[in-house]
């Protein structure tokens, strides 16, 4: 078994309104920063033991599918690193 850290990034699908990101962008602009756009995402780091990178990826993808992301509004990405 090898120890891995998986990083799951959950983003709103393109076209889905993100009122929190818009509010954050407006707040930055009020502070005098110039920016074109701001997107927010949730980021999860998961430590786990697995037989292989593929095994770890499969398990973490399943976690994303079943809880971390809501497929109706989210896309997600999984990255796996040895720990």
């Amino acid at each position: 078994m090898t120890q891995f850290t998986a990083t799951v990034t959950v983003r709103l699908k393109s076209g889905v309104l993100d009122p929190e990101a818009e509010t954050t962008q407006r707040a930055l602009e009020r502070l005098g920063f110039e920016l074109e756009d701001l997107r927010s995402a949730d980021h999860f780091e998961i430590d786990l033991e697995a037989e292989s990178v593929d095994d770890a990826a499969e398990r973490v993808e399943s976690m994303a599918e079943r809880l971390l992301a809501n497929p109706t509004i989210h896309d997600y990405e999984v990255e796996i690193e040895r720990r």
Partner: protein
């Protein structure tokens, strides 16, 4: 008996029991860890802030073991009504389509809204006529109905939208939409049929004359239909 499921952080559970009993419907609180009682004629997923809205509103409660029992009961035809946080739990657990997510305003909104009855041919709306305008309170930060356009079209074709936000005259307009919900959707029926439905507004808070409005009674009468 109607089971009103209490999760950690539910806070409209007692209101729902009280409202149902005031309509002559036997209702009981059921703590989620105790599981569904054997003889249940209907289920309410009540409002509140289950598990602090962690991750997404309703996400945690939707994965609690009692929801497997709720899905089984729904499959067998038991009526299920999700209100506010219960609506979020319902959509998070795939009982109903779409998602309820952050209001367009990015704020918690607590106000009265008008709703137009879109389909009066469901247990939850049979007390009304199609096109009727009712007034109910909302109290949510994540009530914006979101679903992809194709799916929404299918839901509309299948008459699955039961309520839309509207003005006092029944006009469905962007101004009358409190939270940015797609096509002003406030409530939808479930994947398993009309006996399952969710809505963001609170019918149980509009069942007593003394509290200003009884427009919500018709929704709760769905359990007797």
């Amino acid at each position: 008996m109607i089971a009103v499921i209490r999760f950690g952080g539910s806070n409209c559970d007692r209101d729902a029991v009280q409202a149902l009993e005031s309509l002559g419907t036997d209702a009981e609180l059921v703590w989620h860890e105790d599981g569904l009682p054997a003889e249940v004629d209907g289920i309410v997923l009540p409002g509140g802030f289950s598990y602090g809205d962690y991750l997404r509103a309703g996400a945690m409660a939707a994965r609690s073991p009692i929801m497997d029992e709720v899905r089984e009961a729904a499959d067998e035809g038991t009526p299920v009504l999700g209100i506010c946080n219960g609506a979020q739990i319902g959509s998070e657990s795939s009982l109903t389509p779409g998602a309820f997510t952050t209001n367009e305003s990015a704020r918690f909104q607590c106000e009265h809204v008008y709703l137009r009855v879109e389909n009066a041919d469901t247990p939850w709306t049979q007390a009304y006529e199609e096109g009727d305008v009712i007034e109910l309170p909302i109290a949510h930060g994540e009530g914006r109905f979101e679903v992809d356009d194709d799916r929404l079209e299918t839901l509309e074709d299948e008459d699955r939208i039961i309520f839309r936000y509207c003005d006092s005259e029944g006009n469905v307009t962007p101004e009358a939409n409190p939270n940015g919900s797609k096509h002003n959707v406030a409530g939808v029926t479930g994947e398993r049929g009309d006996h399952v439905a969710v809505l963001m507004p609170h019918p149980e808070r509009a069942t007593l004359e003394d509290l200003g409005s009884t427009d919500g009674t018709g929704v709760l009468e769905g359990f007797q239909a």
